[in-house]
Structure formats: structure tokens, C-alpha cells
């Protein structure tokens, strides 16, 4: 795959990539954008190469996930060095502002909170299956775990989400997607 083809593919998956990056960065838009840029940089430098073993989407998501983990680690180290007070002020201001601007609906806020409360693996598998329409096998590849492990995380995640979202009624306004899989396939 030459650089032009690579660019076209990346552009095609940009929106989904951003969604996945958001999920990997605890829904912080600035961090997600930073991760996405780092991923593109890796592709440009040839540090991340698509070898065709999996689908392009699966490969890209795996790269995004790994980059997000690296970035998180780097930020953690940076935070250790920086003044904690300054850091906390900056973060809360950003998060509060994003909340107010983006999530008007109470249900959305509740769902976001519920997602944040889920363990990372469970959140990842649910996001990959329900948000990005990946099969469990593909999700397992992205998460670099076995299929059995991914299935366990999936079931536990659903169960935990049900407990957290107990009594919440969801309106049909968002359920417009026609080509959705009811049950995630393993293939």
C-alpha cells in the first residue's frame, strides 16, 4: 500500500478513528486529537505499517489503542513532574466545559458516567462492538486479547452497564441505524 492509498484509507476511517481515540482517552477531545495526530505521524514515519493480516480498520484501531496507552503513560509521567495544582485546574475546567457544551441530555451524561465507571477492557469491547460495529473476534484483535477473554469482558461489561443504567428510559430518536448487527458475530 503506497502513501497515497494509505492516506485515502485513513481519511475514510477518520471519523471512526476519532471516536475510538475519544474512547481510549477517557473522552477527552484534545487528547483524542493528539493521539490521532500521533498515529498519523507513526504512519508517515513508517513506524506503523499495514501488512494486510487484518482489515485496515482493525489495524488502525489497534494502532490508536496502543498510541493512546503510550500517550497516557507519557502524560502520567509529565503530571508527576508538573505542579499538581495547575494541572488539576486545567483539567477540571476543560472537562466541565466539554460536558456542558456537548452533553445536554441527562441520559447521555448518565451513560457517559456509566461508561467511565466500567473497567477499561469492558468499556473497550462494548465500544468496539456497539459503536464501531466490529465482531468480537475483531475486537479481540484490536484489544490484543484472546476471543474467549474478549467474550468474557463483553458479557461482564453488559451486565455492569445494565446495573449502572437501571431505570433509565432511552428514547428512539437515536436508533435510526438500519444496518446494525443485533448480536455481535465472532467471525
Amino acid at each position: 500500500m503506497n502513501s497515497h492509498e494509505l492516506r485515502v484509507e485513513l481519511e475514510k476511517h477518520h471519523r471512526e478513528g476519532y471516536g475510538w481515540a475519544l474512547s481510549c482517552c477517557a473522552r477527552n477531545p484534545a487528547e483524542a486529537e493528539n493521539v490521532l495526530q500521533a498515529v498519523y505521524l507513526k504512519v508517515l514515519q513508517g513506524k506503523a505499517r499495514f501488512d494486510g493480516r487484518a482489515s485496515f480498520k482493525t489495524w488502525l484501531f489497534a494502532v490508536i489503542r496502543r498510541t493512546a496507552i503510550d500517550e497516557r503513560r507519557r502524560q502520567w509521567l509529565r503530571r508527576l513532574r508538573m505542579d499538581r495544582y495547575e494541572e488539576s485546574i486545567g483539567n477540571t475546567a476543560c472537562a466541565e466545559g466539554a460536558d456542558a457544551a456537548i452533553y445536554h441530555s441527562e441520559i447521555r451524561v448518565l451513560f457517559r458516567r456509566a461508561l467511565a465507571e466500567l473497567p477499561r477492557r469492558q468499556r473497550e469491547v462494548l465500544q468496539l462492538v456497539f459503536y464501531h460495529d466490529l465482531s468480537l473476534a475483531e475486537a479481540a484483535k484490536v484489544m490484543e486479547v484472546s476471543l474467549g477473554s474478549a467474550r468474557t469482558h463483553y458479557e461482564r461489561g453488559k451486565q455492569r452497564l445494565r446495573q449502572l443504567m437501571k431505570g433509565v428510559e432511552i428514547s428512539d430518536e437515536a436508533g435510526r441505524g438500519e444496518n446494525q448487527k443485533a448480536v455481535p458475530t465472532t467471525e
Partner: protein
């Protein structure tokens, strides 16, 4: 079960729609990545210059050190005197100056360095070699007493005690 999955799917779809609205353009991110790449290239070339200079400096210092070491060792590889008496004794002729024999070797160039090192180790203390006949005990004076000769010989009839001048061992000698 399906109902529950549908419910989750709807929630995720709402989330997806929200995300879609705030997704930055691809061109913007791609250009930012390109800019980062340029920046890193510049940084890297700067680092390369620094590392190269440091490497050259280390090599230069190391080379100079090595050259000095080799020069010193070749200077000291000349034959060395083993014994040398500072104070020649009367009636004693010191033996002729001997040279350290250099054993023949198959690889003379390689072994020359080893010989030099061995010689240096041998010569380093350089004690002043004195003859055994000259040696005197530091406590020798304790064996002598003043007026010792009075006990050793009987004075003559015409010799008074006052005439016997030597009373100490040094005066006797």
C-alpha cells in the same frame, strides 16, 4: 437479551452522533502530523550534530591518551640498571652493571610492550643497593660503653690514665 443489546446500541449511537459533530477535519489532523514530522526531523538533525561532536571529542581524547601511553611505554622499554651502589666502599669494587636480559620471543613487537611493563614493575621501588659489608646494626652503639678499652687492655707502666684519650667506640675507631 436482544432488547438489552438494542438499548446499549442506541446509547452508543447517540454517543457516536455527538462525536461526529465534534470530529476535527482529516486535513487538519493530517497537516498537524506533517508539521510534527518536520519539527522532529529538525530536532533530530540538531541532536545528530551534538552527538557527532561529542563522539568526535571522545575519540580525539581517547586517541591522544592512547598515543601518550604508547609513547611513554616505548621510552621506558630501554634496558634498566638493576643494582647500583651510591656509596662505593674503599677496597671494594662493585660488580659491573648488569643488564636485564630480554627473553627472545616469537612476536617481538607484541611482547615488547609486556617486557616494558615487567621492567617498570621491577624498577619502580628502586631501593639504594648497599653492600652487606657496610651494613651496621642501628643498635650497635648499645654494645659499647665509654672507657671500654680500659677493660680490654692494661695500661703500661709509664702511661697515665689521662693519656688514654679514646673512651668512646667512635674515638677508638
Amino acid at each position: 437479551m436482544k432488547q438489552e443489546e438494542e438499548k446499549i446500541r442506541k446509547l452508543f449511537q447517540q454517543l457516536s452522533e455527538e462525536d461526529e459533530r465534534q470530529t476535527p477535519s482529516f486535513a487538519q489532523n493530517w497537516n498537524a502530523a506533517l508539521l510534527r514530522q518536520e519539527k522532529r526531523k529538525a530536532q533530530w538533525s540538531g541532536w545528530r550534530v551534538v552527538v557527532g561532536a561529542a563522539l568526535l571529542l571522545v575519540l580525539g581524547v581517547g586517541g591522544a591518551g592512547w598515543w601518550l601511553y604508547v609513547r611513554q611505554s616505548t621510552q621506558q622499554s630501554h634496558p634498566v640498571e638493576i643494582a647500583n651502589s651510591d656509596r662505593p666502599v674503599d677496597g671494594f669494587t662493585p660488580p659491573p652493571v648488569s643488564l636485564l636480559p630480554i627473553p627472545p620471543s616469537r612476536t617481538p613487537v607484541k611482547n615488547a610492550h609486556n617486557i616494558t611493563r615487567r621492567q617498570r614493575r621491577f624498577v619502580r621501588p628502586q631501593p639504594t643497593a648497599s653492600l652487606i659489608s657496610q651494613w651496621r646494626s642501628p643498635t650497635e652503639s648499645l654494645l659499647h660503653i665509654p672507657g671500654e678499652q680500659l677493660f680490654k687492655r692494661v695500661p703500661g707502666l709509664d702511661e697515665s690514665f689521662v693519656n688514654i684519650k679514646a673512651t668512646s667506640p667512635e674515638q677508638i675507631n
